[in-house]
């Protein structure tokens, strides 16, 4: 047990690298928030655009969504970071990770929002329009509030899963938790920083997972 603690819970090593991990913690938080905001906003815009039912536009949206659902996030990040520079497009690891994860979240969010809008019965549109609400007003005040409510549980779970992908940024040198833990590990040749990194992720994501559980029960839809 003493040896185990020496290896995985080495206080000296941990104390030394804790500030680095903390630094990484904030980078992870920033990256995650940026992904959530950009991803969900883009997804909503795409779903709204789709509701106008312009054929060519819808085809484009479906193609975008399908590609981003089929290609692994890490492959996307690596294409953005390692492949694009060969044609002169350069971006930092942070931007590549942010862009890849936001696009993926956007595609999932679009699908979820769109399915939610379809789930609102047609009679709701008719009732709203019959009282003189315009298309956009009916969308804004009648259809979207119901669609959002239906979509919140799946959207929350998907968002959590994708924000955990911020750890993939370590592969393209984003100074987030995993990257910091990994480099501390290779400097010290002791896995304690990895333990610390793991704890940092748990501190960040356990509450998020619980929040997801709460949302699932809270929004269980009753009609």
């Amino acid at each position: 047990m003493g040896k185990f603690a020496q290896t995985f819970l080495n206080w000296e090593v941990m104390a030394q690298y804790a500030p680095k991990i903390l630094e990484g913690f904030w980078v992870t938080v920033q990256l995650a928030l940026a992904v959530v905001i950009a991803g969900i906003a883009t997804g909503l815009v795409l779903a709204l655009a789709r509701s106008f039912r312009v054929k060519a536009l819808n085809l484009l949206i479906v193609a975008f969504v399908d590609v981003l659902r089929a290609v692994p996030p890490l492959v996307l990040i690596i294409i953005l970071y390692f492949a694009l520079p060969t044609v002169g497009v350069r971006m930092s690891g942070f931007v590549s990770t942010w862009l890849a994860l936001s696009a993926i979240l956007a595609s999932f969010a679009e699908e979820i929002f769109w399915a939610g809008m379809l789930a609102v019965p047609h009679g709701q549109w008719e009732a709203a329009r019959s009282t003189g609400l315009s298309f956009l007003q009916a969308m804004r005040f009648v259809v979207l509030p119901q669609a959002v409510r239906i979509t919140i549980p799946p959207l929350t779970n998907r968002t959590i899963a994708i924000t955990k992908g911020t750890a993939l940024g370590a592969v393209v040198a984003v100074g987030e938790i995993l990257y910091q833990a990994q480099s501390a590990y290779s400097f010290s040749y002791n896995p304690s920083p990895l333990t610390l990194g793991a704890v940092a992720y748990l501190i960040l994501f356990i509450p998020v997972v619980w929040f997801g559980r709460w949302v699932e029960t809270r929004f269980a839809w009753k009609r």
Partner: protein, 223 residues
């Protein structure tokens, strides 16, 4: 356009690196064939244990599920691949990856099966028990088959995510598709292999994405 083709869709490079990519593809396929059934079996076990009458065991399972759902899979993988050797347990890369995937995916599959089992009305249990089936028989012959059918879209969706996730094995030098593509890129100084890997994922997984999108629309619409 010319530059784009030379940089991303270079047939000469593709021909040269195809054997690498093919070997990587086979490894990815093998990994998928190992981790998906393991994860499903683990998930089913998790869901069944979550229903035992013995409370501490139930809590343990909830803890297990939340713990591994909060952990980014890449963090888990690195912890296992880089940390475990310090305990004297030096697993081959493939085994480390399989272990990490088992812990991660069995939590997700477990949640899906749990929801499926909860969706079965009490009357089904009572009917089965009233005909003299034991608790285990009731589960095996009556509840689990129905539960599985109810959650097929979720199972497929999660499996899609697992297949995509196998790409993170490249980080611990398991020679799967993405790893092979990156090796090929560093040898040829050309991004074509990475783009090819992306396209291979797209071609293999796109049918699954289409299928799911159809399921999801129907599912939410029936909500």
């Amino acid at each position: 356009m010319e530059t784009l083709i030379t940089a991303f869709f270079n047939l000469g490079i593709l021909r040269e690196t195809a054997p690498y990519l093919w070997a990587g593809f086979k490894m990815s396929a093998l990994l998928t064939l190992v981790v998906v059934p393991l994860g499903i079996a683990g998930g089913l076990a998790v869901a069944l244990i979550a229903r035992t009458a013995f409370r501490p065991l139930r809590w343990l399972v909830v803890f297990y599920v939340d713990f591994f759902r909060a952990f980014p899979p890449l963090v888990l993988l690195m912890f296992i691949a880089f940390g475990l050797p310090f305990t004297g347990l030096d697993l081959p890369a493939f085994v480390s990856v399989a272990l990490a995937f088992f812990l991660n995916t069995s939590s997700y599959y477990g949640e899906i099966f749990r929801a499926g089992i909860e969706s079965i009305p009490r009357g089904q249990f009572e009917a089965a028990r009233s005909t003299g089936l034991g608790a285990a028989q009731t589960m095996a012959y009556v509840i689990v088959p129905q539960a599985t059918r109810n959650v097929i879209p979720d199972l497929i969706s999660n499996t899609l995510e697992v297949v995509k996730l196998t790409s993170i094995a490249s980080v611990v030098a398991l020679p799967e598709l993405l790893y092979a593509a990156r090796q090929a890129q560093s040898i040829t100084y050309n991004a074509t292999p990475i783009i090819a890997a992306g396209i291979i994922y797209l071609v293999c997984l796109w049918p699954l994405v289409r299928l799911l999108s159809r399921f999801e629309h129907r599912q939410i619409a029936l909500h």
